[in-house]
Symmetry: C2
Subunit: 189 residues, 2 copies
Amino acid sequence: MTQSKTDPRVLRTRKLIMDSFIELSGQKEFKDITVKDITTEAMINRATFYYHFQDVYDLLDKVLSEVLLVNLNCSIFEKSDLNEESIIRIFTAITNFQKSLSNRCHRGYEDTISRIIREHLEIVLYKMLLIQHNTKEDAALKTTAVILGWGIYGASVEWRKNGTDKSPEEFIKSSIPYILSGITLDSKN
Amino acid sequence: MTQSKTDPRVLRTRKLIMDSFIELSGQKEFKDITVKDITTEAMINRATFYYHFQDVYDLLDKVLSEVLLVNLNCSIFEKSDLNEESIIRIFTAITNFQKSLSNRCHRGYEDTISRIIREHLEIVLYKMLLIQHNTKEDAALKTTAVILGWGIYGASVEWRKNGTDKSPEEFIKSSIPYILSGITLDSKN
DNA sequence: TTCGATGTGTTGTATATACGACAAATCTAA
DNA sequence: TTAGATTTGTCGTATATACAACACATCGAA
């Protein structure tokens, strides 16, 4: 499935680059981080950077993906159908991820971050929907995953803006019935 | 003086190996640390280890030397004649070094550690004696450095065994007059 | 004792990384 | 605006590292 074997030098170098980038992100703005800064910190040659990444945006993309995936996978992969608990876990993972980012001053790249979060969210949600409906492929479910992805992501944005007096769990919990059973749900339920 | 340029890959790999060794030393006994353990932790190939070090003993030797040199150089290199202050600094550096080692469980290698400490001590002391006596080379001073080296090292061993109720500074301070002015010194001085 | 397993140290070959140079883009100050 | 300085992205060549295989040593259990 994954490529059978990757040269350890590649893994090591990528890790050095990514770690250095994360380290530097804590020290200065994204826009002030040069490739030279990164490679110096990582103790690798500048040309080697371009062997692994197209440019700093590509690196940002991959770092964010990786950090987010760690947050998502750990909490979900075994329990794989969509219920109240798993939705709460996903939502918590996302808010955690965004909190960890806000310390790191990636100002001006909210759009990149947002896109990455939604992309991964859709993949995970689609998988869970497929399992739940016991099927292999389904365009309607795919679209549903997209809608859910945007919706959940939007909720996390809203939580950061207006809801931080509640925990993420409380914040999302009251809406879950509408997600699970649909908007025509009787509110007395 | 030092080799004009070393390949960064060499520096990086040596650092990875040394850091991994220090990390592992905190986890298990020296005798239980294999080359494979080190190279796995360092994310390098086992053969590469032998490109840089003869064996684990050679590594131990170099790691200890480096850690000790950091302790010694920072505290001394500018003040370069032997007086009360510099002796106290040297003694403190050595006891610090040994304290940091005792956390790291290198049981069974006290002899190696002792030898390395004394070797470096003799070099530093000899340099300082040469400066003090304003000469380039002198066999008597060299032997004196050896004697002083063994003596100061011995004092640090004694301090660890029986003197830890005092600070290293207090411990060595009262003997310094005898070192500086000789054992025939009148004790009323 | 013998045997299987594990660790050591070495070697030849494939490949990732270092290096220096380069043109082009971007920024900064005058 | 112009000119000088950084930064970016790319290339060819040299070299450090990866890998697999090897003989040998060491060790614990049968």
